[in-house]
Amino acid sequence: MAASIQASAVEKAALSVRGLTVDLPEGMERAHAVENISFDLKRGQILCIIGESGSGKSVTANTIMGLLPKLISVSSGAIHLDGAAIIGASPQVLRGLRGRVVSMIFQDPLSALNPLMTVGEQITEVLTAHGVGTKASRRSRALELLTEVGLPDPELMYHQYPFRLSGGQRQRVMIAMALALEPTVLIADEPTTALDVTTQAQILKLIRDIQRRKGMSVMFITHDFGVVAEIADSVVVMEKGRVVEQGSAEQVLKSPTHPYTQRLIAAVPHLTGKDRAPQEKAGKETILKVEGLAKTYRSGSTLFGSQRVVPAVKDVSFELAAGRTLGIVGESGSGKSSLGRLLIKLQDSDAGRIHFDGRDIAKLPESEFRPLRPQIQMIFQDPFASLNPRSTIGQILTVGPVAHGMPYHQAREEARALLAHVGLDAGAFGRYPHEFSGGQRQRIGIARALMFKPRLLIADEAVSALDVSIQAQILKLLDQIQRETGVSMIFITHDLRVASQICDEIAVMQRGRIVEHGPPSQIFLDPQSAYTRELVAAIPGERPRSARAAAAND
């Protein structure tokens, strides 16, 4: 009886995973990449697999594709894809299924296409590999696909090399490639994580539209509950290689039963639409006043007239009061990171003034700016790349202040105190960066910046590389530090939801200019510029809530 139910379930599902356990090589932090997981992807549905880094979601996808690295092996379980058993199938059989019955799109569209082949060649290759059609029919099918994924001028696009395309366009090409043979199942491994929020919204819409039009089944891997709310029919939540909860999207999002799911959902930053409670220590005086700041990048030589000119920052002006946080929000290429580098004088500006504490530092030579440098500190995006792997945490924290004249024993005492303050134990002092997790490293990065007792902190995408639960902790830490020390902050981010958590006011940048500047309530509830409206509308997972709210008001 039970067996027959199971058999019919397997038939109904486009993809069914039963009791899958995948072993990791010995000496890893756990024995199994995934352990005894089971789920079904029903035909014509979108199943979201959600989990934080290391949850085993990508290993699951690669197992289904038969693309596991040699060192990792399946020890038990079964996978049926459109009725065909995957586990134990020969490499030839698996190769025949890939691209035809199941296709996959990846996270980083910039590296997922061969740089030496044209877009057209890469699409027709799928058809060639499976012996479909003639040369002419493959070409027309590729053009059809390029049109289907909404790329402009397919004829031109066919002959284009990937480097000419934007990230969103490349991801569309990946989707076109994946759809070439109309597979039963599409696996999307974080396909929008590397994209800007407006591009992400477009790609999500494209995937959903195509899925509906073709009745395709999609397995969508993500770490973002916003994305889940946007497109999922059902959800599988994974933690450390186990499935901790699964069910319909509605059920999991609204009434999660497992504590891990509850924690994850609670950690997702939401647009508050409420302004932040003013800091007790926030003063009225202005610590930073920027007027007409501009920077243009020039590359290539002037001698032979092949110079490229890219205006990165154009006529940017704003003021920041002491003890407050200004969010600078924009998509990639908006100039937000360039602005950060100009403010800390890692780069010289072309025009404009930067009044720090009443003094114009924009034109100050390095020798005169050096004594001021401790007062303006930066927290970097990548906690893995921004700490020297050969220095101990103690060396990382003390080298700067000692160079600026602090006696070593004093620096050491302060470093130990700060480590405790940012939530690490004092034993961290003598250890090396690789011994810490991403979140811990970002705490170290914050402690490093605080060693100088700065008056202005510039955080450039400081939480973007972190899992949501860690993200929430770091944001809380930054908020707490500001309340205690009264430091002013500039928080550069691409994520409006994160900005809404921590900022007193927000400046939205587009193509080097600030297009809107105001408190979060204005930016999120009553945006003045069309671009801000577009940005806010594109935030995944927010629309259904506001739509619900609108419906309730009717």
Partner: protein, 316 residues
């Protein structure tokens, strides 16, 4: 692309200028000078020497000698050999073909075998083949070329008698086959160290490319391993190797000089040693400039080939 070419060309010219100045100065810093060898000849009087100096223009200040030499060089007059008065270009020309033949054949061998070993080592990483290739490369790199030459002669010429021990052809037999027969041993000996270098770099480049996302994409498309290797991996792995080939040329040239001596090959290597021994400065300078131009040219060609193959450079 045109800007890129102009840029590279002007850089090359500056480089050649610097090489010529340094070469000229260093050569003239050697004590004794070009006429020192006549000092021991009892039949030469001081007057004879002075007259010779006057004739060859060696009594002028060094900078003037340089400018004169450089100006003539630009016009195509590379000077005349001190030894027998033949134009330098003719002297080089006579030895050029032999050297290019040796360099060319050994480069083809090195690239063909090195590429194959490198790719196979990367696709079968940590296999017996890979270990043998690694050990073999270390051996080839740590033993000097002349030793391989001597061992080669001992084994294949003296013991087995399969291959000739030296020279470019048998006197009285100028057939192509006879030339090839003579070419085999020296070109393989010269190629050994370059096979080692090339295979190591190719292995690393291939491993780099194999771990890239687009190779995973290719697998996800259902392509055969063979097609993935040929169409997606090899092309991308060879890109950096083209630049390497351009940079390896000077060391092939140096290696050729040693190999030529071991195999009494009538190329530029022996000409260079002989000319140095005779203090034949015009020929030495000519050879120096010729190799410099060759190296610069090959690097330029390598850059252009990369630019043609890589659309990111070609189209931007």
């Amino acid at each position: 692309m045109r800007g890129f070419l102009l840029n590279r060309l002007s850089q090359s010219l500056v480089l050649l200028l610097i090489v010529s100045v340094i070469g000229f100065v260093v050569l003239n810093l050697i004590p004794g000078g070009p006429l020192a060898q006549f000092g021991l000849d009892p039949s030469m009087t001081q007057d004879d020497l002075n007259r010779l100096k006057e004739q060859l223009g060696l009594n002028r200040p060094l900078w003037l000698q340089y400018l004169d030499w450089a100006w003539r060089l630009v016009q195509g007059d590379w000077g005349h050999s001190f030894r027998d008065g033949t134009p330098v270009l003719d002297v080089i020309g006579r030895h050029l073909v032999a050297t290019l033949l040796l360099m060319g054949s050994s480069t083809v061998i090195a690239i063909a075998i090195g590429t194959w070993i490198g790719i196979r080592g990367a696709t079968h990483r940590y296999s017996v083949f890979d270990y043998l290739a690694t050990v073999g490369a270390m051996v080839a790199l740590s033993i000097p070329t002349f030793w391989f030459g001597l061992v080669g002669i001992y084994v294949f010429s003296l013991r087995l008698g399969w291959l000739p021990a030296g020279n470019m052809y048998t006197i009285g037999d100028g057939s192509v086959l006879n030339h090839i027969h003579h070419l085999i041993l020296p070109s393989i000996v010269l190629a050994l160290v370059h096979v080692a270098i090339w295979s190591r770099y190719m292995r690393t480049a291939t491993l780099d490319v194999i771990s890239q996302d687009f190779v995973k994409t290719a697998r996800a498309k259902g392509l055969s391993e063979r097609r993935i290797l040929m169409k997606h991996v090899v092309g991308n792995a060879l890109l950096p190797m083209i630049t390497l080939a351009g940079m390896q040329l000077p060391s092939v040239l140096t290696g050729a000089l040693v190999t030529e001596t071991v195999f009494t090959w009538p190329g530029m290597g022996r000409l260079f040693l002989d000319s140095l021994g005779y203090s034949d400065y015009p020929v030495v300078m000519g050879l120096l400039m010729f190799s410099a131009i060759l190296v610069v040219l090959c690097n330029l060609i390598a850059d252009i080939v990369v630019a043609i193959i890589d659309p990111r450079i070609r189209l931007s």
